[in-house]
Symmetry: C2
Subunit: 177 residues, 2 copies
């Protein structure tokens, strides 16, 4: 659960980081910033702030904002409605984000995941101007560096409620709008 | 035709405007900025600078950069490969862009199109933080305000070579990469 106070603080943080990254929001968008704690009630450790620009049946674009060291738990986007599932590109705008995907485990990775079940450990460091595309169905998780991060996400249609998290404690429908 | 000098100047302009908008490019992206004169050889009047971040079979994301008063000529994105055609969202990042789409003609529109065939005159003003989604097959054109503009484009797969321009003098394959 996210308290009203946590929600407001998370929105404030996200709005400030977006503004610092030069990203201008319309007047009504600040209060449309969503905050997810993934049902873990440890928002600063496992959580995500996001602003959805557009999400049609065919494509989606969002900004993701992470606090310093904040982690989005391991998950994958399964097939749905006859499609292969969500395909997504992360492009770092500010700060640093460490993305972990399927593949050979990186020795001496930068990040340690928070308590929970994490099974993929191939590290991709994304600094501003760097991007990576995640194929449908690929397990992935990500954590911001010590200054937090702003990440643009471009993708096929987003259906967050379908996400499959590796850790069964993680709830799927925890976006507070 | 775009001369080498025009190409270099246009890329320089686009890179500077992107930087001013807080958009960081990777080292190899500056030289990947594409410049289109739409076969009209009047680049400052009718033209577009663009950087494609990603263009998969399913979605696409680009930055568009326009010089002051520069126009992207009227066109539409037709159906292809069993899809309804490209659906796209324009989000203004800096400057102002005036988008003209099908619908009731705006009285006293801000922009005058350059010489050529322009048939849709419903004006949508996009300032930073404002966006508009164009349905597949809809005729549209756009022109930057007096300070130029940076516009993010989120869309389904982009197949520029299929674009149908209203003015038959406009060439479809004129992107210089």
């Amino acid at each position: 659960m996210i308290s009203e106070h946590e929600l407001e603080q998370a929105r404030l943080y996200a709005a400030e980081r977006l503004a610092e990254a030069g990203i201008v929001l319309a007047a009504d968008e600040r209060d449309a910033i969503e905050v997810a704690d993934f049902g873990l009630s440890r928002l600063e450790e496992s959580g995500l702030q996001l602003l959805v620009y557009v999400n049609t049946d065919r494509y989606c674009a969002k900004e993701l904002v992470l606090r310093p060291g904040q982690t989005c738990p391991e998950h994958r986007h399964p097939p749905f409605d006859g499609t292969p599932g969500k395909e997504e590109t992360f492009r770092c705008r500010s700060g640093v984000v460490y993305l972990y995907v399927e593949g050979e485990a990186t020795s001496n990775p930068i990040c340690e995941p928070p308590p929970g079940t994490y099974t993929v450990h191939h590290e991709i460091e994304l600094r501003p101007g760097m991007q990576h595309t995640i194929a449908p169905g690929t397990l992935h998780w990500f954590q911001a560096g010590p200054d937090g991060a702003v990440v643009s996400e471009f993708s096929t249609a987003s259906r967050d409620e379908l996400d499959e998290f590796t850790d069964e404690r993680v709830a799927r429908e925890t976006i507070v709008g």
